[in-house]
């Protein structure tokens, strides 16, 4: 059992990386990766929200919607996510102003990260149980954070490279993301 969970986690972080192989969450991946520090903040905020959202999605789907109302999934999930984001914001502000300063500006951005809806949708589609859903959310978010942070460090270095004019900025960032996903293909087949 433990081993299965571990495999699921490794699988979602590396093999089926949410950004590199599932191609979700790209807008923040491109948008919030100019600085290492901000990417760390974004990663932390996303991890928190995504894990909760994934667990909540399981509960809602199993106990509220069931097979009959599955067409309400998108609607209910997105409202739940908005609430979780709002709630998190409130909670962090109350309990840790320092953390809030760090994460605060990223929290509202999370609602429009399609990975945050994508992971809950995928998790219920794949029929995970509650723990698996949580792990799936956590793994997805950790995978997101991992590539976001590495990408940010690379982009900081690339800022100073003599890149051909037409490729400067987002273009080379896209190419870099492409080579990253090429590298990530090395993980393919790791977990069958």
């Amino acid at each position: 059992m433990m081993q299965d969970y571990l495999l699921l986690l490794i699988g979602t972080v590396f093999v089926n990386n949410i950004v590199m192989s599932k191609i979700l969450g790209l807008c923040p991946f491109m948008g919030v990766s100019r600085k290492l520090e901000t990417s760390l903040g974004m990663g932390a905020a996303t991890t928190f929200v995504l894990t909760l959202a994934s667990g909540a999605a399981y509960i809602i789907d199993t106990y509220l919607l069931g097979p009959e109302l599955h067409y309400l999934r998108t609607l209910s999930f997105i409202v739940t996510i908005a609430a979780i984001v709002g709630f998190t914001e409130m909670f962090i502000r109350k309990t840790s102003p320092v953390l809030f300063r760090v994460l605060g500006i990223y929290l509202p951005l999370i609602t429009t990260n399609c990975a945050v809806l994508g992971i809950p949708l995928l998790t219920v589609m794949e029929g995970h149980n509650f723990v698996e859903s949580l792990l799936f959310g956590l793994g997805g978010a950790l995978g997101f954070t991992l590539v976001l942070v590495l990408f940010a460090a690379m982009r900081e270095r690339l800022e100073a490279a003599d890149i051909p004019v037409t490729f400067r900025g987002t273009s080379i960032a896209m190419v870099t993301a492409g080579l990253m996903s090429l590298a990530f293909m090395g993980f393919s087949g790791l977990i069958k």
Partner: protein, 241 residues
Amino acid sequence: MSTQAHEVPAEVAAGEAGLQALGDRWAELREILHNGLWKQNPGIVQLLGLCPLLAISNTVVNSLSLGLATTLVMAISSGSVSVLRNYIPQPIRIPVFVLIIAALVTVVQLFMNAYVHPLYLVLGVFIPLITTNCIVLARVEAFASKRSTAHAVLDASAMGIGLTLVLVVLGGLREAVGKGTLLSGLDLVFGPAAAAWTVHLAPGYQGFLLAILPPGAFIGLGLLIAMKNWLDLRAAKEQRA
């Protein structure tokens, strides 16, 4: 706008003002279109709505279908938000926007599931994900929630078409390089007979698989952005010369 108007006879002024207003409106329309299709193109400038852009653009047909679905959702949701904009309490506007979008997306999803089922299967999770497609919410929040319904619908359509264009170009590029075909998969929309419409570019072409895989999507979009940069730079240079 018309500072010398008081120096000319009233009726002439009115006519001129009318003409000018018409010109202004046309200019405004053009501005919106130009923004959506080129200057603020969501796909290659704003970099919003990237996930479907990159995930689905492996063939022209997929690209076009998702692009149109997105455009449809954008236009309706922008329109409805614009209509409802005065009834939505400010603090919860984002959740409400999202709610509206999500409902519309699900409607589109249900219809696609019913009438173009094979395509629905191919586009998969990316249909519900139109909900969080950043560009939909971005236009709703930045434009539709402040402007008249007609403007909002136009802007959303322009942005949607801009996105669709990028999707189709990228899809064409990836399909051509990756498989050496164009328009494969038409049968998903029009039934098996359409399979024959697929264009085969170079017989015996091996197919550069990378183009169809995720890396190809990223690199392809990078090239498109570079292309736009190049065109813009050239235009700027010409303007200076």
